[in-house]
């Protein structure tokens, strides 16, 4: 039997509802399976860590041909369609009894998952440490890669 991987290193680089869920679902599941987990929030993914933002993320109705209710781009670009698509998605999630993102975030912190905010993204987007939730680390590529270099499974979203 080969040696088991004990680390899970995840990159969250998008700030939409559908992109924010997988890092938390896989991350908390990994922690529940006794794995050490780190999630690196970079580019638009850093929005997930902004104070009060996580349950207000949106779903993109444009250029999203996989929406269960098909929405032509020309309709999706109308005012209010982002809010409509987001409300639709959130109602499906609620109906399927999926935990809210804020609940998964709290669980991730409780399970000791390392949440790393990208310093460079903060500089690019003018985000200050006090704009981000408490209990996270700020770091760069080397911080994430050092963690991942110890035989980690790496996933990118």
């Amino acid at each position: 039997m080969t040696e088991e991987t004990k680390r899970l290193a995840i990159i969250a680089s998008h700030g939409t509802v559908d992109a924010a869920y997988p890092p938390f679902i896989l991350g908390t599941a990994g922690a529940a399976m006794d794995m050490e987990v780190a999630i690196f929030f970079t580019f638009f993914g850093l929005q997930i860590l902004k104070k009060g933002k996580i349950d207000k993320l949106k779903v993109a109705p444009i250029a999203n041909p996989a929406m269960p209710v098909p929405m032509p781009n020309i309709i999706g670009m109308l005012p209010g369609m982002t809010a409509a698509a987001t409300a639709m998605m959130n109602s499906w999630m609620k109906k399927a009894k999926v935990a809210k993102l804020s609940e998964l975030l709290a669980m991730a912190q409780e399970l000791g998952i390392r949440l790393i905010g990208c310093q460079m993204t903060m500089d690019v987007m003018g985000i200050k440490k006090e704009d981000l939730i408490d209990g996270i680390e700020i770091g760069g590529a080397a911080t994430f890669l050092e963690f991942a270099s110890h035989n980690a499974i790496t996933l990118t979203f």
């Binding site: 679902i25 896989l26 599941a29 922690a31 529940a32 399976m33 006794d34 935990a99």
Partner: protein
């Protein structure tokens, strides 16, 4: 199934990954040799609970469907 659990966890109505997370927390609170009865309605839990026990080294004593719900018996082995 004729198993007497030391603790029961009802994860009915919870979706992935919550049943696994609640299971981990409950098993952490048990002593070695004690048994957790887990009740779940998430169909994915059939595969996930087996995978969880395999990865964590705990023992899945059995699984049955009772009144449409999945019932698992997990023994803490370490």
């Amino acid at each position: 199934m004729n198993i007497t659990p030391d603790q029961t966890l009802d994860a009915s109505g919870l979706a992935c990954p919550m049943p696994i997370i609640k299971t981990k927390k409950a098993v952490d609170g048990l002593k070695v040799g004690e048994i957790l009865k887990l009740i779940a309605t998430d169909p994915g839990s059939v595969s996930d609970v087996a995978a969880w026990t395999q990865k964590t080294g705990q023992e899945l004593l059995g699984h049955e469907v009772v009144e449409g719900k999945h019932v698992f018996y997990i023994k803490k082995t370490k």
